[in-house]
């Protein structure tokens, strides 16, 4: 069987359709089948990434309609890197939540189908070459994330989900309007074709389309001031879903924003706007994280802050900076999902999710506390963990452009990050032990997932060359617009 990118979309959709039927055969299939799908994702990623140096960017035509007319999927080194990362985090989230809380059969059926759709939609966003198709995948992600946020009915989760839905439906309305205006101006929806025709659009119209897309995708990418949904959602959603949001969904939002800004609109002025938005996002989020007493909300604000740093890196826009941005995205996906996985066990029996609840818990749960501390060290960028390298590359990229004020701001904000993460670690290790806290021993799956992520952080920290090659290829593919256009639009098109 030949493996092609369309398997990323077709297999999970078929599985989601079949799961309710398979459940009639055996109830455990509801949990197992999504895991097999995620495993298949990993196989596709590995095969395609290996083929990539020989075949070049793979552009797959769907249903026989070639590029500018039909929908196509593009597996470039950049898309492939993100798709593989998402498959990996999705698989770990499945493994982690396999026995996470004893939910009954009907609920677990919903949970695993929605988890699969969430990851599939994000991979679809990354792979598609058609801007309306991107909108459709964005809505698949959005609808499954609303349902997953409101998964536990005992909490205030419906409120968080409704907020997310309200903001998300405005995002989709803005994106739809942007696509509408883009279509009236160019008469095409294919992103490579749009990139060649975008110069036909009048500058004033171009600006309005850009603003619509910036607002629409900015909501998904947690950009300030459009991130009001994030802290509520992270604190109310089930624990593993928090990791999937941070590791997969937000990455898809950033991808959409960057694809539109870098490939379709090649406006150099927008990069300064991205730096400003990134700095504001970073400062506001990290200062807000400092005054949180709820651990999940603190992690959510930290996640928003990290996305601000990624926006800054994309805003600088040189090849080194794009490399740093992708490295930051990789590290954020690994480290932040590890922090969410471990904090779920730390807060297992806490209803308030307060940091104060954690005093001295390290003596009872040494492994989980160690994993949390490892993640905290890595995300603030201490050597020898992987977070250090991405921050170093970002600062080097900024130094190349003589942006000294920016470097100063990032360093000051890093100190703020250190303060609020170390406050939690101090509570964990040196707080007075309370005997009446009920703890939950992690399942074997939980140990495996956290151990694997922790090992990746240390190994990548010691040997960054393991991933820098792939990330460098991805960065080159993103900055090289003409190869993308050529690989999508083949020469057999008659104009």
């Amino acid at each position: 069987m030949i493996i092609t990118p369309v398997h990323y979309i077709a297999v999970p959709l078929l599985a989601a359709f079949l799961i309710p039927l398979l459940a009639k055969l055996h109830k455990e299939l509801v949990r197992i089948v999504p895991g097999l799908v995620f495993l298949y994702f990993l196989i596709i990623s590995a095969t395609l990434m290996q083929q990539l140096p020989e075949t070049g960017t793979i552009s797959e035509v769907i249903a026989g309609w070639s590029a500018p007319w039909g929908i196509n999927l593009v597996f470039s080194p950049f898309s492939g890197f993100l798709a593989s990362l998402m498959s990996f985090i999705g698989f770990l989230a499945w493994l982690y939540s396999y026995r996470f809380k004893k939910v009954d059969f009907a609920q677990s059926q919903k949970y695993f189908i929605l988890l699969m759709m969430l990851v599939t939609g994000s991979i679809g966003i990354v792979l598609t070459g058609d801007i309306f198709n991107l909108f459709v995948f964005l809505e698949i992600v959005a609808i499954s994330s609303y349902s997953l946020t409101s998964f536990y009915s005992g909490r205030d989760s419906a409120e968080a989900a409704f907020k997310q839905l309200l903001i998300g439906s405005f995002a989709s309305a803005f994106i739809l309007l942007g696509i509408l205006i883009l279509y009236t101006q160019t008469g095409t929806l294919n992103m490579a074709d749009l990139a060649t025709k975008v110069h036909l659009i009048a500058p004033s119209v171009k600006i309005s389309i850009l603003v619509l897309f910036l607002v629409g995708f900015g909501i998904e990418a947690e950009m300030f001031p459009l991130n009001g949904w994030a802290p509520d959602v992270y604190s109310q959603a089930p624990g593993p879903i928090g990791s999937v949001f941070a590791g997969v969904v937000v990455k898809a939002g950033i991808y959409a924003l960057i694809r539109v800004l870098y490939t379709i609109f090649d406006v150099p002025e927008i990069t300064h706007l991205l730096i400003i938005l990134g700095v504001v996002t970073m400062i506001i989020a990290e200062v807000a994280a400092l005054r949180q007493d709820n651990l999940k909300r603190m992690l959510a604000y930290s996640s928003i802050g990290q996305m601000g740093v990624v926006l800054i890196a994309f805003g600088i826009g040189t090849n080194t900076a794009i490399f740093a941005a992708l490295f930051l995205m990789f590290n954020h996906a690994i480290i932040k999902s590890m922090l969410f996985f471990s904090s779920s066990y730390l807060l297992y029996n806490s209803t308030t999710k307060a940091i104060a609840h954690l005093t001295g818990i390290a003596k009872k749960m040494p492994f989980v506390a160690f994993i949390f501390a490892l993640g905290a060290f890595a995300i603030v960028g201490l050597p020898p963990f992987s977070g250090f390298w991405s921050k170093l590359y970002l600062l080097m990229a900024a130094a190349d452009q003589k942006m000294l004020l920016l470097i100063g701001t990032i360093l000051v904000i890093s100190v703020v990050e250190i303060i609020y993460y170390f406050r939690v670690i101090g509570k964990l290790y040196y707080g007075k032990e309370e005997n009446n806290i009920e703890i939950q021993k992690p399942s074997i799956n939980g140990y495996v997932v956290m151990g694997v992520l922790g090992a990746i952080i240390i190994v990548v920290g010691v040997y960054p060359d393991l991933v820098t090659g792939i990330i460098q290829n991805a960065a080159d593919a993103l900055s090289d617009k003409s190869t993308y256009i050529q690989s999508v639009i083949t020469e057999n098109i008659v104009r």
Binding site: V136, A142, S150, S153, L166, F170
Partner: protein, 123 residues
């Protein structure tokens, strides 16, 4: 002066924009969750109308090469916006359904469907 096509164009585009604005007004001002959901649907409806309007040609024909219509390529209505709007309607339907399900959950949890009474989560 009273060109039929002009009046049609202005009224279709005008009503699409008016629908979007009415929807945004409802979402921002109304306190009742159901009314907010209705506002969201109205915004969607406005955008859908706008989509159909951009593909419209007056006295046009369906984009099908049926006998007798082969020469009328320039009169054919653009089919792409219609295909897009069908997809967008389905998506809007799903979003509205999820929103209404959430409203029911919120009403059961808080005993009220007013935004003023639902503020367990703050910034």
């Amino acid at each position: 002066m009273f060109d039929y096509n002009n009046i049609l164009t202005i009224s279709v585009y005008g009503s699409a924009i008016a629908l979007i604005l009415i929807g945004i007004y409802a979402v921002l001002i109304k306190k009742n969750l159901i009314k907010i959901v209705i506002g969201m649907s109205i915004v969607d409806a406005g955008i859908h109308l706008l989509f159909v309007a951009i593909g419209y040609i007056s006295n046009g024909t369906a984009p099908i090469f049926s006998p007798g219509n082969e020469g009328r390529v320039l009169d054919m209505v653009d089919p792409v916006p219609q295909a897009l709007v069908l997809t967008a309607i389905v998506i809007g339907f799903a979003t509205t359904a999820v929103a209404l399900a959430l409203v029911i959950r919120l009403y059961k949890h808080h005993g009220s469907a007013s935004v003023d009474n639902i503020k367990a989560l703050k910034w």
